[in-house]
């Protein structure tokens, strides 16, 4: 005890919080320690940063102090009234299992276990519902035949175990590192067992026992049996799916099909609804009801739980205060039954996609054309097609996609890195790398002008292979990051793709091509890298619309720059397609790409011109924001590590020049309001004409059902995206087709971007607002 400080423990104990918990008052110690501090002064320790400040706890602050037990509305300490031994009706068990399933889906959505799955108190009281521990306080004559104890000791117990094991298996996949902790998911287990040491097979056997009991018992009505079986079978399927290696996709797909069937049974048998709250009341400990107050068993549909049911006490949203947690408690609302079913459907859909990819894309072919490209296609259309029920695939499904593509050893669990490089070249230009490599070695003469690659030095093929080995696996895994992180990865990777382009340029410049036709692939080697790099640049630019990053002022440049990038991409494809074999899959895919990008280019041109009025022309502010937005293009690494100039750099001065030309022409020709006015008088095509061009090409693709050659199982989604572009063309049909139309068009009033409801990249056209005098 500090000198001069005495405490009357008798009085203090009566006044201290936590009475009876043997706390001791140490206020005096703090006073002693701080007696040399001046008022209003503050001492910072070394390295006391923001994280340290945020990590401090304020005792008694309800948002931070998870040990604080609030007393509101008399509904405190729900888990103190919870009785794990309370018998349950079948519908009450169904309600508990459905709610637990909903919280499990919320964990998949990225919430903490302590805010979701762990709120089911039975998880923390599993021991109490073991058959050999469960205390039957009633004699067999007094037992409620409508509340058989096996519902708790068998059905509920194994379901809870299966839930924990399911979460454990998911946790192990997520912990592989492909998904980001504290971003995609929350890894904190709060030191609660997920039955890590219990084999899944053991729990699956337990489920089988529960299923057998439910099916055979005479203690349940047929309705109750059906409802319970639907839930048990679904849980069994889910656990089996989680326990199946993604490298066995056929098995996974079979289990997913079963799970869907069981989900259908579940949807047909919704649980009872929660009682409508009246006045807050304490919930008595029911014990076992007497026989003359037994609630008659009814169908679980369109019924309500009793307000006194013990089931309502089985979830505690504040359970985190009893656990080891480093984050504040947040009450995650339990999803409704319908929301739960939707989330399970989304989970199964994501798992199915992962399994189809792991199986190898095209039916019956494991390494044919498109085996690689299908991963890109699946990732792209998954993001580009708006799905209101699913903003992004669950992290578990995305992690499985990453694992099945490359687990650090094999590509798609069976191929090697050389296969990957070969397939990459094959699907980009129609020729495998091994063949190209041997021709390079044959024709290599060196480049006299190159400081390192003159005659006598070997071609940099090893350097190219190392670069591709590192970057291709990372690229395909990055396809399954969450959308903002995916975009940032692409931005960072562009310099590596440029290095690849640089190496191919060096190789081409060092080859003897005197006897080679200009259309030959060897003349267009660098384009192999460019088509990938430029498609990534395009994705970086357009995805910023979907992520709602652009201010209005930035949109004209974004659309203009996209047209420039696509122009270069089309130039590359024009060169490569000449060397492609007639009727080949690569030719078909390139021709689809050419048409697809022509649609995009036309729409981007239309919107560049239409959004020009959004520019403030305050170049003092536009310029620094431009360099910040496109900072990925101005890395010093481009200068330090490559010789070849970067293709399709974002260049503000060219944009300014393009804007100036259009505005000058509009100003000079404002009096021309004739439908005969040539587009050349504007410098670029009129927006309305661009949209018509895009519509024509899109219609052609839709009519021919042409979706290229690499879509695989997602070919129809590619076509669907083209149909969406057609719909964009329909809505933008009335964009201006005259100079005066361009002059008077007001994008602020008439263009509306709706990335979650209409299109990720393009706006819809609203009718013009009538001018009032």
């Amino acid at each position: 005890m500090a000198d001069g400080v005495t405490v009357d423990f008798g009085q203090a104990q009566a006044e201290l919080p936590g009475q009876g918990f043997n706390f001791q008052d140490v206020t005096g110690l703090f006073k002693q320690a701080s007696k040399d501090l001046e008022p209003n002064s503050f001492i910072f320790m070394d390295d006391f940063g923001f994280q340290e400040a945020m990590s401090a706890l304020e005792i008694g602050e309800p948002r931070l102090d998870t040990g604080l037990i609030l007393q509101t509305n008399g509904q405190d300490h729900p888990n103190e009234k919870f009785d794990p031994h309370a018998p349950l009706l079948p519908e009450e068990v169904c309600w508990i299992l459905d709610r637990a399933l909903g919280f499990e889906m919320e964990f998949h959505a990225g919430n903490f276990l302590a805010h979701t799955v762990y709120t089911l108190i039975y998880i923390h009281r599993l021991r109490d519902i073991e058959p050999d521990v469960f205390v039957d306080t009633l004699s067999s004559e007094q037992q409620d035949p409508l509340r058989p104890t096996s519902l708790v000791t068998l059905v509920l117990r194994v379901s809870v175990q299966a839930l924990l094991k399911s979460v454990d298996l998911v946790w192990r996949e997520l912990a592989k590192g492909g998904m980001y902790d504290a971003e995609d998911w929350q890894s904190d287990k709060s030191e609660v067992s997920l039955l890590e040491g219990v084999p899944a097979a053991f729990i699956i056997k337990g489920l089988e026992s529960a299923i057998a009991w439910v099916a055979d018992t005479h203690q349940l009505s047929d309705d109750a049996k059906s409802s319970l079986l639907a839930r048990l079978l679904l849980r069994q399927s889910l656990l089996q799916i989680f326990n199946t290696d993604i490298t066995r996709p056929e098995e996974t797909l079979k289990l997913i099909s079963q799970a869907r069937t069981h989900l259908g049974y579940l949807k047909a048998r919704p649980p009872p609804l929660e009682p409508i709250p009246t006045t807050p009341a304490s919930i008595p400990n029911l014990g076992v009801p007497k026989s003359n107050s037994i609630i008659p068993s009814t169908s679980v549909s369109n019924t309500y739980l009793s307000s006194t049911t013990p089931a309502l006490l089985s979830f505690d949203p504040h359970v985190g205060r009893t656990l080891q947690m480093s984050s504040p408690i947040r009450v995650v609302p339990a999803p409704s039954f319908e929301q739960t079913c939707t989330m399970v459907e989304n989970l199964l859909e994501g798992l199915e996609e992962a399994a189809v990819l792991a199986r190898g894309g095209k039916e019956g072919e494991n390494d044919g054309f498109g085996a690689l490209g299908v991963w890109q296609a699946m990732s792209d259309v998954g993001l580009w097609l708006i799905n209101k029920d699913r903003t992004t695939r669950v992290p578990y499904a995305r992690s499985l996609c990453q694992t099945s593509f490359y687990d650090g050893f094999k590509i798609m669990s069976r191929f090697s890195i050389p296969w990957l490089i070969n397939q990459f070249f094959y699907e980009t230009c129609g020729v495998e790398w091994d063949e190209i490599r041997s021709v390079i070695l044959e024709r290599w003469r060196g480049d006299q002008d190159h400081p390192l690659l003159n005659e006598g030095s070997p071609p940099p093929v090893l350097q190219l292979e190392r670069l591709l080995s590192k970057n291709l696996t990372a690229h395909f895994r990055a396809l399954f990051h969450n959308p903002p992180r995916r975009r940032r990865y692409f931005m960072k990777s562009l310099v590596e793709w440029h290095f690849f382009y640089d190496i191919l340029t060096e190789i081409r410049d060092g080859l003897d091509l005197d006897d080679i036709h200009p259309s030959h692939l060897l003349q267009h080697l660098p384009s192999i890298a460019l088509v990938w790099r430029l498609s990534i640049v395009r994705e970086v630019v357009l995805s910023a619309f979907q992520l709602e990053l652009y201010t209005d002022e930035e949109k004209p440049f974004a659309y203009w720059y996209a047209t420039q990038v696509i122009e270069e991409h089309l130039r590359c494809l024009d060169g490569l397609v000449q060397g492609a074999e007639d009727g080949s899959e690569i030719q078909s895919e390139m021709q689809f790409q050419i048409k697809f990008m022509s649609i995009l280019q036309a729409l981007c041109t239309a919107l560049f011109v239409s959004t020009l009025p959004l520019l403030s022309f305050n170049w003092d502010q536009i310029r620094p924001n431009f360099f910040r937005r496109y900072k990925w293009a101005f890395r010093t690494a481009y200068d330090d590590n490559s010789q070849a100039p970067v293709v399709a750099q974002p260049e503000l001065w060219r944009f300014i020049k393009a804007c100036g030309e259009i505005l000058r022409k509009v100003e000079a020709n404002t009096d021309e309001d004739s439908s005969d006015a040539s587009s050349m008088s504007l410098g670029v095509s009129f927006p309305g004409d661009c949209v018509e061009l895009a519509r024509t090409i899109a219609q052609e693709l839709v009519d021919s059902e042409d979706c290229g050659s690499i879509g695989g199982a997602w070919a129809k989604d590619r076509l669907l995206f083209v149909k969406n572009l057609l719909a964009v063309c329909e809505t933008l049909h009335d964009l201006p087709t005259t100079i005066s139309g361009v002059d008077t068009f007001d994008p602020r009033m008439q263009l509306q971007w709706d990335v979650s409801g209409f299109h990720p990249w393009f706006p819809k056209l609203l009718p013009p607002v009538e001018q009032t005098s």
Binding site: N40, P484, E548, P624, P645
Partner: protein
């Protein structure tokens, strides 16, 4: 008629008002140490707004900031908290028209008070050579997004499930152009002029590139 006065944070006596203003508005809880972390190290960057007819009364708005070198590359200012009393929030223009300065304070839009606070802090940061000013805000905080965009901020990146409630955030950034004095100095630098000559396909970088997408917050 009352107008708005802005003054810098002066000491612990301001702290209770600042905490009250901020805690009532923000969804994420902050302990007192968090406030002190900013206010004691960068008091000159934090400002309070007062009605001019009650300059010693309670403030109606506050902004709390910091400024430091980021990754040894850029002098970065950070707006940690911005809050205006609910009673003084009105969306859109006040009853007395666009120029409400000098009008009854009750009708001053939230954005004008908030804009004044942010402008004061940015000017103070400029005194210390700030290159960029950043902050995070919830993706659906349209009032804040509109306010900052009117000041020239752009949404540099989107941060997936950044907040405890699972919401995304936007990282907003305002790139501060170098002052006229700096421009003259840089154009005289031989390295920079060489760069301009030889790199015709490279535009001139204003802010150095940094791979900071993995940092959770610049706080």
């Amino acid at each position: 008629m009352a107008s708005i006065l802005y003054r810098q944070y002066v000491g612990e006596s301001d702290l209770p008002y600042i905490m009250r203003l901020v805690q009532s508005e923000l969804s994420e809880p902050y302990v007192i140490y968090t406030f002190r972390y900013f206010l004691h190290q960068w008091p000159h960057l934090s400002f309070l707004a007062y009605p001019s007819d009650s300059p010693t009364g309670e403030p109606v708005g506050v902004v709390v900031c910091k400024q430091s070198m980021h990754n040894e590359l850029a002098n970065r200012g950070y707006i940690a908290m911005l809050s205006v009393d609910k009673k003084f929030r009105k969306r859109g223009i006040g009853r007395y028209g666009i120029n409400t300065f000098g009008a009854d304070l009750f009708y001053l839009p939230f954005s004008i008070i908030a804009t004044g606070l942010v402008r004061n802090s940015i000017e103070a940061m400029k005194q210390d050579g700030v290159d960029e000013v950043v902050l995070e805000t919830e993706y659906d905080n349209f009032a804040a997004l509109s306010l900052y965009e009117s000041l020239g901020f752009i949404r540099e990146k989107r941060l997936y499930r950044f907040y405890l409630n699972g919401k995304d955030a936007f990282r907003l950034v305002l790139a501060i152009p170098p002052s006229d004095d700096e421009d003259n100095t840089q154009s005289a630098s031989p390295n920079r002029s060489n760069q301009i000559r030889h790199l015709s396909n490279r535009a001139i970088c204003v802010s150095p590139y940094s791979d900071d997408e993995d940092e959770e917050s610049s706080r």
